[in-house]
Subunit: 423 residues, 2 copies
């Protein structure tokens, strides 16, 4: 335990780490632990897609010519597959293009220009708009809200979702129009929302045009044994008399080809019809051939889950290695805590206050790129400057080992320096 060590012992350990750090810096490494993206090996698992749907194959089960124009909301079989992923009905689903982020952005932009079902006026006519940003969370969610000029309101993340006492208090304000949620393997803490959190989100007092942006990005992305169920927020909202409150998003991006997947949203009939009405002006319809390609590749939800099990087998050793090195180098030292997720793409490390920025800078100087400090927070500001997001999905195992050893070294060294500076 760092706290129990004498000044001398700390200085000695600090010198030892400093020497190791200098040696590591001279090695000229170039490692990247920032990117929540699939590795080439993981993409290889979906390489059959590169020659699909295949010569002469262009009709779906309903005999739609997927090459031509027509159809604003996706093929029936693709809706069914997404409904199976999300645990909802096929009729709840609209299929989009290759980016669920775009579906989210477009939904918010539409709310700005036109308002939402049940709402009074377009958001653009309602003065300041506020969005709740459970943090640490996903930077690109917050970026959408910030880009559109909303005020970002931070809410603390807990082990089973956002701090609901705080959320309930904030949502009563009618200028609060939305909350960003990643309900399973939340980015970056890896937690899964509890039933109780979902119930409170569904039933709490909120503006009629308040929306839960429920980004189930990691719906099928397990690599551990644990399979905590995701709450059925659509039914919870319907049962609470707030059927239009939630908008669910997902995609196959982290299942097949990250940049060439298929996205979807699911919601109440009013929300779905509203989106469809706008989409019929905005687009000639989503790429049906890419849907057919994915349907041919997956077959059905069982095929999709078998594929995701293979993906999980590739991710599991990477996440295990991260845990192993964190435990070996930092375990029992009272320096940091970290998440140990059973799915998703990230490991979240919480160090001493004020450590994140110096650790990330030190690591960068030694050739290890980490996610910028503050990125998982509204306005990019971690109030305690102590959260570091690790993304081990992309690099090969040996890179992860080297990067993690430098990371733990930097974290311990910064912690010791802090301790020495504040006796």
């Amino acid at each position: 335990m760092l706290h129990d060590d004498s000044q001398e012992a700390l200085k000695a350990r600090g010198n030892e780490l400093q020497q190791r750090y200098e040696a590591a810096s001279r090695a000229g490494l170039s490692l990247d632990m920032t990117r929540g993206k699939p590795s080439p090996e993981q993409l290889d698992l979906a390489d059959a897609l590169l020659a699909l749907p295949g010569a002469g194959q262009f009709c779906d089960q309903e005999n739609t010519d997927c090459r031509n124009y027509g159809g604003i909301d996706g093929l029936a079989a693709m809706k069914k597959l997404f409904a199976d992923i999300l645990g909802c009905q096929q009729t709840d689903v609209i299929v989009g293009g290759n980016s669920s982020l775009t579906m989210m952005y477009d939904t918010v932009a539409r709310a700005m220009l036109f308002g939402v079902p049940g709402g009074d006026k377009p958001w653009v006519q309602q003065g300041t708009i506020r969005f709740l940003c459970p943090a640490p969370g996903y930077d690109r969610h917050f970026e959408i809200a910030g880009h559109l000029g909303f005020e970002l309101v931070s809410v603390e993340m807990t082990e089973d979702g956002p701090d609901m006492d705080h959320v309930e208090a904030l949502a009563a304000d009618p200028s609060v129009k939305g909350i960003w949620c990643v309900p399973r393997y939340s980015n970056p803490t890896g937690i899964t929302y509890s039933e109780s959190v979902a119930q409170r989100l569904a039933t709490m007092e909120a503006a009629a045009d308040f929306r839960i942006f429920w980004d189930n990005a990691y719906a099928e992305h397990h690599f551990g044994e644990e399979r905590q169920p995701v709450p059925d927020i659509l039914t919870a909202c319907r049962d609470a008399g707030n059927p239009d409150r939630v908008l669910i998003f997902t995609s196959t991006s982290k299942m097949t080809m990250a940049g060439a997947g298929v996205s979807a949203m699911a919601a109440s009939p009013a929300n779905i019809n509203d989106a469809r009405r706008h989409l019929s002006v905005q687009t000639i319809g989503p790429d049906k051939l890419n849907q057919l390609r994915h349907l041919t590749f997956f077959g059905d939800i069982d095929g999709l889950r078998a594929h995701m099990a293979r993906v999980g087998e590739l991710l599991k050793p990477k996440f295990s290695l991260v845990q192993e090195i964190l435990e070996r180098d930092l375990g029992g030292k009272d320096i940091a805590t970290w998440s140990n997720p059973s799915g998703g793409y990230f490991v979240n490390v919480t160090g001493p206050d004020d450590c994140a920025r110096p650790v990330i800078e030190m690591a960068a100087q030694a050739g290890v790129k980490l996610t910028p400090a503050g990125a998982p927070f509204a306005y990019g500001l971690d109030p305690q400057n102590r959260i570091i997001r690790l993304a081990p999905s992309f690099p090969p195992l040996e890179d992860i080992r080297q990067a993690m050893e430098i990371f733990t070294l930097c974290l311990e060294l910064v912690a010791i320096r802090q301790r020495l500076a504040k006796p």
Copy 2:
């Protein structure tokens, strides 16, 4: 000539046509001349795409892994190909998803929410916004502007573009923010904009945030011998000191797979950088595999043009047949005029005033679906109710023959009835 015929001759001809119409109606036809979409045979020409990029093929010339995330504005080679289509530089281009309509909608929606480079304020803060709609024109252009609440201002189309005296007078009003243009094989009249029209668009007085939406949808879509050049509007605007005035759009939709093509926009550096800045929030980037698929299929601009020559060979007999029947049945009768385009997707027929709606209704009752009357006009209102758009690309030749014979029959019959009713 209808005008020279006696009442008796007109009545006799009317009775003959009425009998033929009744016989045709009993045949129980179901023909569709409404859809400006490729025929299955045309799509077949691109069927190699169904198995591309092919097993193990996922890197472009710059060794980008097109399967993964990354890249907001398209592959370099895809930009080059679009630059060759549009006659601009690769750096002028942003590649989008499968729908150029979406790029247009998104550009207008962004102008609403954020304004445009050189503009004062977001359009949403500027009161009534007006868009110029050269008519007859493309209904889905007008629909975007109408959906966003703009006032649609009709401008008459001439043989070389919109009536520029009228456009110049209107554009001086700072609430006029845009004009929709299809510069080559304009939908539906088939005309190509002249140099003079482009010059006047580039140089006329207009608001700093006025934009020309230059939808070059039929840039390579020739089937005739004539190849009238499209004016270089980007250079014209730059030379006029209005570099940011024009936004150019195109896509491969009517080249390869209509619903699964690749779209692009081209514009000044300020406009391109502005779009890129917003896109980096809105999307994870366009589908790079579909770009690679198209690059592999086309090779380069020469390969693309060779492909479009094959497409033209399929379209040419359809358009020739339409001309043949129009000339045979209506030629010399002083009933209608029609376009004879050398590219694009439509033939535009101008009949006597007040004829469009009754002709389209009569044809529908005989089993021939035509584009709704007024569709090519702002608010769906053809002030003279005399324009009928024919779309011969999709149906097979025999269907076109039958549909055209009923169409000309209905048009002549309606003209005779009108003549008899107004002696």
